[in-house]
Amino acid sequence: MSCKNLTYSYPAADPTTVPPALDRVSFDVRAGEYVGVLGPNGGGKSTLVRLLNGLLRTDSGRVRVAGLDPAAQPFEVRERLGVLFQNPENGLVAPFVEDDVAFGLENLGVPRDRMRERVAQAIRAVGLAGYERREPHTLSGGEKQRVALAGLLAVEPEILVLDEPTSMLDAAGRREVLEHIHALKGDRTVLHVTHHLEEVLDADRVLVLNAGRLVADVAPERLISDADLLRENRLILPTTLRLALELGLSPAKLRTPEDLAAAVRGRTGKGTGVR
């Protein structure tokens, strides 16, 4: 995917008083990369997602997804780029799980026998075998998002864009969904928009969008160690990392409290021992 000088303003916004939602944003994403997108609310993250899949059309600048222009060829782009939205409820269209997972395939005109196979596969891939005839309103938030994810995977896109997929979920749901998202790493190109820094610590790169501008395009480690960058963009480190930084420990590879404890023991020389 590539964006060059991407600029967009919402039609309802008065251009003389309201700054553009996206202002000359440029970046590239190579095939197979896992890229995080962070930034405060209203910073342009959701707008970017919608420009990438053709829901919105750029005012100026260039967008290319798999070589195609989403504004000119939205349906071709949508075959290759799937989006997982924030609200688990409003992404599910059909009265039953398997019908919903099939929705994308129906739109593509896939013949019925092939559909059945791919739907079954996708449902298994997200760990929901047995849920085929369940109705959406009986599912938990985590389960709903996994159904939505299955619906995307069934179409076998090269690129997955995740627009704050866990922000409306509880802790258990978040864990479930992240597990499956992280399993996708390496298989496809992933663009993961989120508020939660901890979700993209293992990304290849993170982009930071604030007030429509791309203010950073760095490796996660660089971001973590830059207190000013974090503060200016209203980004908050997870507790474990904050402790590590305050204690002067290296944040590299430090994710869980177990890692933190090990690092402390390493520093004090009681490195080996009961874990």
Binding site: P257, G273, R275
Partner: protein, 274 residues
Amino acid sequence: MRLELRDVRHVYALGTPFEVAALRGVSLGVEPGEILAIVGGTGSGKSTLIQHLNLLLEPTSGEVLVDGADARTLNRGELRRRVGLVFQFPEAALFAPTFAEDVAFAPRRMDLDEDEVESRVRDALRTLGAERLAQRSPFSLSGGERRRVAISGVLAMRPEVLVLDEPTAGLDPATREELLGVIRALRDGGGTVVFVSHELDEVAEVADRVCVLERGSIRASGKPAEVFYAEESAHAPATVRAALLLARCYPEVGRPVSFDETLATIRGVLEGSR
């Protein structure tokens, strides 16, 4: 104002084939001036529990006591004014043409004169940091701002106890911190706050007491350190998990719960080993 639930049971659809026991004998006290956190996931009965605090739901058996008196003998409207309940994603219930009018909804029902209503609306919005939004329409603006206004709507009743169901759900981390600050400020100002949360790190920062609800029963209850250190599970706040691991080699770590406490003791360990 002290609230108490004594052996409360609540069964939905009693006597029908769809019977469900949401609460199975819960006994819990809410002390004045504290922040009580109720920790429990989906299916634990937390929503059912908090609706008993202002008698939106009545117990199938057991009692709800307000300062020792049976809550059922009290005037419902009065009770709901004194115990203000904010549901999850409260911004879904905003309906008036401007935020100020929405916040005024509850105080207007309290037979106060217009000046009093206006002043309460202003105060409530100010507490939540949302006074500049007063004339805006609820149907625009971000989730975080609408959330603040929805909470102001309940605060405008000046309740003695504020009950919040997952107040930070769906918010970005910076706004969450701000909201937690508001909760602390309310308690520091003499109010009592009960909040339900599954975000253990937030509970660790803010709660005076913690109660763990699981499948309709209370599994543990007490001071945060007591509850979190007794839980032998991976579902404890990050600070506690780190401290537990370090305590095996360094008993002087003790039992910190909040970020600052944990930072201090670990720093002590690192410095002590030099």
